[in-house]
Amino acid sequence: MIQKTIFFLLLYAVISSCHSRKGKLAQADLDVIDSLELAANLQVSEEAIDEIIQSVSSPVEMAALIKEIGTPFSMDYLATTDYVDRYNTSSQMAFSLGIFGADLGYLNIYKNNVQIVDYLMAINQLANGIRVGHFFDFVRLNQLATSREGIDSLMYISVSSFNNIDSYLRENNRGHLSALMITGVWIECLYLATRVASETSNPLLNERIGEQKLNLHNLLLILNPYKDQKPIADLLTQLDEVKEVFDQVEITYEIGVPETVEKNGMVMILQNEKSIVKLTDEQLQKIINKTEEVRNKLIAI
């Protein structure tokens, strides 16, 4: 009898120990009160919206280009963290999370450890505001930010945390916040690029700015299903003004066959099909002006 009892107790212990490790999201609190009501019927399929959101470029790429063309670092380009406390709706927080996420990418690329901590704190506050703070290990991030050797890990954790937030919001019926965050990232990246372009003439940067026509098109698709909500409707109005200036940009393509070479012991595929952006100085100046106007309006409280 005693043996049987012990046997069943041990069996219970074995079974209860054989659990798969749940991701840290499994117990996350999903009860979030948002300032937005979700649209009852999305006109674009959620799968299509997911695909578009997934495809949007990382802010690291624009920041890397800005650095590669020799632009010195400047805090003047970045949004101030002084007014984070005033963002008190989920839409403001999600959008601002995107803005500061883009700025964090810029700081990471320039390895500016000192300012990174300020932006991490702002991001922490905003992320907690929309209940995605658990994606950031801020203790670890702060440690890495204050360590010269930790900058690469900091970059990785920053980028992957934002990627995870985006996935989480979409998977948990909060895609409108994901769309706002992505839009914040994009507008801030465009602003950074246009600020640099207004001070330095560089064909690579100008071409990259002109290509944002494609990203903008996708952003409008992502946001449009939520246009019944006032904050997003207001955002769309602003972005439509940006779209008007980008409509004049012409992008053409030349066909070519890719080549495969070996470089530094690794296979590299050289694409010979090319995109060509036709952007006049006048068009560029309009984009610069409109981007500054819209971005400053959107981050103002």
């Binding site: 012990i6 990785y156 290509e211």
Partner: protein, 148 residues
């Protein structure tokens, strides 16, 4: 009595080691795979994949991810398969419906993982991840930006 003691000892071993001997999940693999790909490259995105075995007579399961790639950037594509995966992962890059490159050459059975891609046309591309011979598996694909 001895049998009881043996049972108790084995029971404790199962209880405590069970908590440490976790199968490697794809999520665990992301950071490791990103670090492996990071020589002169900065992590951009990851693609976590879990696919079942292909049914007889059916196409091999594929996970597909869209991307926007920008002109003049060099991107690195790499894939890491989990230790317990039966199948070995393959990552392919497509432009519209055209295959640009695959990390596995089916004819020669050569692997090219990771591979770099010099993009000259900004636009939408697709990453496909599948497993050789349609076997089941778990893997992580990594997209990195190669710094100049």
């Amino acid at each position: 009595m001895i049998r009881i003691l043996v049972l108790i000892i084995f029971g404790f071993l199962f209880v405590f080691t069970g908590r440490f001997l976790q199968a490697q999940s794809p999520t665990d693999l992301v950071e490791q795979c990103a670090n492996e790909a990071s020589e002169n490259a900065t992590y951009l995105k990851d693609f976590v994949v879990k696919l079942a075995e292909a049914k007889p007579g059916s196409k091999h399961p594929i996970a597909r991810y869209p991307l926007i790639l920008s002109k003049n950037n060099v991107y690195r594509f790499s894939v890491c398969t989990t230790e317990q995966s039966e199948g070995k992962a393959v990552i392919r890059l497509y432009d519209s419906n055209h295959l640009i490159f695959s990390s596995y050459d089916e004819d020669t059975q050569e692997e090219f993982n990771p591979f770099n891609f010099l993009c000259r046309k900004t636009g939408i591309y697709h990453v496909f991840i599948s497993f050789i011979d349609g076997k089941p598996g778990e893997a992580v694909g990594i997209l990195s930006y190669v710094t100049k």
